[in-house]
Symmetry: C2
Subunit: 384 residues, 2 copies
Amino acid sequence: MRKVAVIGLGMTKFGQLFDRDLVSLAVEAGAKAVRDAGVRQKDVEALYGGTMSGGLFINQEHLSSVLADKMGFRNIPSTRVEAACASGGLALRQGYIDVASGMHDIAVVGGVEKMTDIGTHSTTNVLATAADTEYEGAQGATFPGLYAMMAKLHMHRYKTTEEQMALVAVKNHKNALFNEHAQFQKQISVNDVLNSPVIADPLKLLDASPITDGAAALVLASEEKAHELCDTPVWIAGSGHATDTISLHDREDILTLKATVQAAKQAYLQSGLEPKDIGTVEVHDCFTIAELLALEDLGFVEKGKSGKFTEDGETEIGGKIPVNTSGGLKAKGHPIGASGISQAIEAVLQLRGDAGKRNTGAETAMTHNIGGTGGTAVVHIFKR
Amino acid sequence: MRKVAVIGLGMTKFGQLFDRDLVSLAVEAGAKAVRDAGVRQKDVEALYGGTMSGGLFINQEHLSSVLADKMGFRNIPSTRVEAACASGGLALRQGYIDVASGMHDIAVVGGVEKMTDIGTHSTTNVLATAADTEYEGAQGATFPGLYAMMAKLHMHRYKTTEEQMALVAVKNHKNALFNEHAQFQKQISVNDVLNSPVIADPLKLLDASPITDGAAALVLASEEKAHELCDTPVWIAGSGHATDTISLHDREDILTLKATVQAAKQAYLQSGLEPKDIGTVEVHDCFTIAELLALEDLGFVEKGKSGKFTEDGETEIGGKIPVNTSGGLKAKGHPIGASGISQAIEAVLQLRGDAGKRNTGAETAMTHNIGGTGGTAVVHIFKR
């Protein structure tokens, strides 16, 4: 497989963007990424896009064609991939495999979701289609409820506290203060989280990531093209992708996301790196408990110790492993299909040293994007 | 890029399968393909699946995880791709790129659609999401109407007749008589087609492919594994994929599907073959006019001459280029996500000499799968 670099990036503001449609968001992100890479539109040979549900959210499937057309990439191969909330990370991976294979030299990979214009379906119902419709959705289980079960058990088994989970939200909001693309640029306190409405005990509203519109895109290039076109290429050192049972009740232990463990193992193996070598990580914090589980499953802290680790400040900028410097899904926002790509954008900005007040000086970065309750996980490792 | 072979195949009966759900169809096709390849379940390293709209048809997204789980391929990377009616062909292509890249040695690629259990949405409305929702769907354009416009213009410009289009349906039904997996195993006549109800003038009901449930799967292997595991590998000699404007009204000429032309060009170039070298072809005959357009755009006959070519019997088994020996989408059935994979199954059966009374003795075969009115096209060339 050939070496592949990220040579350009672009994203829209994340938020409730009532004056924007999906196409305009995707076009903005794609155009910014192409401009950032300094390539011409006609140099782009392939497009990979992640979106969770164009069908249910905006009544439009076949977005691979729609977006290649409206972004001006006419006639090139364009592929939509979907793995619920991991759709963006998966688009990055498929674009990576494509360029690594030698099929194409320059590809745009992106993600987009328009979640706030929904008609006949409620957003929570659409999101529930990322779980097992028959065995979970039909029983009334939605994502807040499923993650609440994990949180309850983590508290019971490891003495994790609601305050420790709240600290995840507080840190991510703090990081987002310095991210102009974030949905929330507003500091919150532990008390704000604890006093926000309970959505599924023990999770409160401020333990949850928001509903968001947005798009993000990257330009990938082969080694030869990257050296030719870019002074600051960021290399994809490892790519991992794994699945697990779609339903929580089928797992041996709901506190270990096997998909995360397997995907991380692949990415570590390919890159030759270990958890201690990773400088900063963007993890999939759809709920605060999800960030804690990810820290353990990715190997940054022993199982059960993530609450204390967070309380000790080890996941803050300046800590042992800065986590979600972008603000994470929690504060930057979570436009499903775009989230995985926006994580990679933060990784690249960190490695370029272009993250402003969020800069960590990291020389390696990891991204971790999951679908559903861990039915899918996609992990990437980046190096300068 | 490494050489890649098809070493196993399996499909369900295509039809209105009211006693089956999507999962059971996918599991059946996958299990048959794995058995046909003679590999063990645990040898399968990656899964690629095409489906148009799990969301709108059965209220289930994240099928990549659901199907890896329920097919028993636990924890492996599983990717769902979607390009409307070209989803199956695209799953084959992405699996091909994956194995060609060196990422994995053995992959299962499949397609599935369950179209007859639909609840709140009508099937035609779901299918309309493969066109431009804003500029076509919202104006009331559905696929029969869009293809009818192409048929009208072909008749006007090239003097193609309704009888010539009907002959496409008659031939494909005749071929399907010998395909036990086909939805329709019933001979029809030109008069049957001409006297069937008009659905969008000049297209009649029997000019259209049916609504179908079904699944199909292939096992792909790297060159080394193929030689190790299989006595009759069929090689993927060329893979092409292209897009066009999603809307018909944006095209220079609605009688040339640029996506087909471009995708075919890529596949011909990669394989070193020309139209005259192709022994048999499965084309995307969602409507009879679509088969005629495909014959022209793939280079088998001059633009405008496909009606006469069909009338002369050149597309029958024994003719210059046998077309849709499986019965095509028209008679074998068109379970959207599965159709592209079932085309590849027919190509492999033909090259293995395992197509029974449909055998053509071909040494090369082509498949042509399109999405929407040609917003996507995926073309593959296979060799013994």
